[in-house]
């Protein structure tokens, strides 16, 4: 079927949460915005909210409403999509950040996108350990779910590679919406000698970034280039985020939509995206250039190449 600007492809992005997290969902939404601008698609973003009981209905409702393509993400939505997709064979489904088991051959209308997030986190961990003066790094996790832990394992492995004596402490906030708590957790880590913090905790994490700003410590951003986000409103905040572990969900969704339009998208398979595809990576912006010494940057680039070549294997929980 040909889609045109007058008869665009109807796309629904079903979020099992709400917009405004400044990372995961916002990144997906940004991809949709770009798609709407550049492709003959018409996007509806459906926020299913924080109630788990509402997620499956939201997805089913999108299918019922007849969208051509329905997008959802992570293991949380994976099961629902697997249950639903076979009943709507004429519609297409995109699952990001998790994959169904395609070997059964049932899911011909699903395409899955997964990211080698831990490889990018590995690079950040390496750089963080190198610029740390105390040899102590801190992580602040929202909850210990796979999407979050995936960042942490790569980060820890990279840090160990740079400095086998490095100490990485993990604190779990238990919430993605408590910035005051995130800030306290980071402050506590700083007072115990940590000088680089890596929050992987949505809104809670923003509090941790602020703690780094106030205390003049380093921070690693998550999901998007968070230094760039803060730059216009809070340059001081941006300046302590020496890099971010980026997972370019929006871009990859854009690409898959584009391929769907021209018929090259490989439905029924998983796209495994990594450093080589530019779908994950660390931000190498001005702050990175300024904060990270030249030789460390060179080493990071070398390691990146080694990971791409398979010379270094990075752990994963996915």
């Amino acid at each position: 079927q040909e889609f045109t600007a007058d008869d665009p492809m109807e796309v629904a992005l079903v979020l099992h949460g709400t917009l405004g997290d400044k990372s995961f969902f916002d990144s997906a939404a940004a991809g949709m915005e770009r798609a709407e601008a550049e492709l003959p698609v018409d996007v509806t973003i459906i926020e299913a909210g924080l109630d788990r009981g509402r997620w499956e209905p939201a997805l089913a409702d999108a299918a019922d409403q007849g969208f051509d393509v329905i997008i959802a993400g992570t293991w949380e939505m994976n099961g629902f999509m697997q249950d639903l997709a076979p009943d709507y064979p004429d519609q297409k489904f995109i699952l990001f950040d998790d994959t169904p088991d395609f070997s059964t051959g049932e899911f011909g209308n699903i395409i899955a996108i997964t990211y080698k997030t831990s490889t990018a986190a590995y690079l950040a961990g390496y750089a963080a350990a190198m610029i740390s003066e105390t040899g102590k790094l801190g992580e602040i996790l929202g909850v210990e779910g796979s999407t979050v832990v995936e960042f942490a394992v790569g980060f820890e492995q990279g840090a160990m590679a740079a400095n086998p004596d490095v100490e990485v402490t993990r604190a779990v906030a238990g919430s993605f919406t408590d910035p005051a708590k995130g800030k306290e957790l980071a402050l506590a880590q700083f007072s115990q000698g940590v000088d680089v913090v890596f929050p992987i905790a949505g809104g809670t994490g923003i509090g941790a970034l602020q703690a780094a700003r106030d205390e003049g410590m380093w921070a690693v951003g998550v999901d998007s280039d968070q230094a760039e986000i803060f730059e216009p409103s809070d340059p001081e905040q941006a300046a302590v985020i020496f890099t971010s572990v980026e997972k370019k969900i929006g871009d990859s969704l854009f690409d898959v939509l584009e391929q769907t339009l021209d018929g090259t998208a490989a439905y029924g398979t998983t796209l495994l995206l990594g450093l080589a595809d530019g779908a994950v990576g660390i931000s190498k912006n001005d702050y990175y250039m300024e904060s990270v010494p030249e030789e460390v940057r060179t080493q990071v680039d070398e390691i990146e190449q080694q990971i791409i070549n398979g010379e270094i294997t990075v752990d994963s929980v996915m």
Binding site: G49, R52, G53, A60, D61, E144, S146, E150, V317
Partner: protein, 366 residues
């Protein structure tokens, strides 16, 4: 034998009903105004709000599922409120109940026909135990049940979340939920492919059971007398503390049952972290609007569940921002809870008065 006069229940029922309906109407008007202000296609959005819950078998299933859950949590609160105990522990009971139902479902029993009855039983026992705690602390030490039950909620949520993450989720998956239960452990759907499952049946049975317990058993009468005047109850030989603790325990069992309905129902079929999304708490609203009357609880749940679903679908299908739904919901609660005076009410009162006066004079000697 002359017939007794009955307190005029029908009249007060009609009055209550009329009041609730008019409040509802005002709330709908307010909701419509909000939709008008925030939507490009207000008529369509509002149409979704009003009709979506009955739009298809699937949406009806969602509505009924909500009704079942709201009914159970409403009952849970009504029962303790009847005994004048302000335990807010339903949420904690739902969590421990859900956990124990999940443990049964994930054990070898999970694949047998015993999975559902035993899962429910385990959930109810766990919920009852969790309801018993604040009751006991109050009876024994005089510890405020409001505080202890609230704190026990927070504790239950975190502990259950931990067990789900660290012990029930598939090893190394990082998923914050258990694998799906075996089919035998999940409530069968009454209408295939929807959430219209055994949950609503259990909820209605629970309504009947609670009504029967409260109004037809000696225990229920004792419970109401204790709630009315605990000192009098003691005086009359009713062990008021034991009754109070037992009420909180029975209410806990209902909360536990709701836990089972959650995890073993078709909506989930597994246990996940944070699975109740605060619905357990909305039982307070249902109980208060229903004036703690067990038979009114499902009626309120049906109406409230409908509005809740309608708002949800408006959020999913229209451009009304999701946040506005909360605002609409809040206004509905505020308005339904309020008492209005309408112009006609004075006249009505006067008519009623004549009635009452006649009653006064003819009463003696009947």
């Amino acid at each position: 034998m002359s017939a007794d006069r009955k307190p005029n229940k029908l009249n007060s029922f009609l009055r209550e009903g009329a009041r609730a309906l008019s409040a509802l109407l005002i709330a709908l008007v307010v909701a419509f105004v909000i939709v008008l202000l925030t939507s490009e296609e207000p008529m369509e959005a509002f149409h979704t709000f009003l009709t979506a819950p009955v739009g298809s078998a699937r949406t009806r299933g969602l509505w009924i599922d909500d009704v079942a859950k709201l009914t159970l949590t409403g009952l849970c609160f009504s029962l303790v409120f009847q005994a004048r105990q302000f335990s807010l522990g339903a949420q904690g009971q739902v969590y421990v109940g859900g956990l124990f139902a999940a443990l049964v479902a994930l054990s070898p029993i999970g694949t047998t026909w015993l999975a559902i009855p035993l899962g429910m039983l385990a959930a109810m026992l766990a919920g009852a135990a969790y309801g018993f705690l604040p009751g006991y602390a109050k009876a024994r030490f005089g510890a405020s049940e409001i505080v202890s039950s609230l704190m026990l909620n927070y504790i239950a949520i975190r502990v259950v979340n931990w067990i789900v993450r660290a012990h029930l989720a598939p090893e190394g998956s990082g998923q914050l939920m258990s694998p799906e239960f075996p089919d035998a452990a999940i409530y069968p759907a009454l209408i295939p492919g929807t959430r219209f499952d055994l949950g609503i049946l259990f909820a209605l049975i629970a309504v009947g059971v609670v009504w029967f317990l409260i109004f037809r058993t000696a225990w229920g009468l004792k419970l109401r007398l204790v709630g009315d005047n605990a000192r009098f109850a003691e005086y009359a030989g009713i062990p008021s503390k034991a009754i109070m603790v037992s009420a909180m325990t029975v209410s806990g069992a209902i909360g536990g049952l709701l836990g089972s309905v959650y995890v073993q129902g078709r909506a989930f079929g597994r246990i996940a972290i944070d699975f109740d999304a605060n619905l357990a708490f909305e039982g307070i609203l249902v109980a208060i609007v229903a004036r703690n009357k067990p038979l009114a609880v499902p009626v309120v749940a049906i109406a409230y569940g409908y509005l809740r679903q309608g708002a949800q679908f408006m959020g999913l299908r229209s451009d009304v921002p999701t946040e506005m739904l909360a605002v609409v919901q809040a206004l509905i609660i505020l308005l339904v809870a309020s008492q209005f005076t309408f112009p006609g009410q004075k006249l009505f009162a006067r008519l009623m008065r004549r009635d009452g006066q006649a009653a006064k004079t003819e009463a003696p000697g009947t």
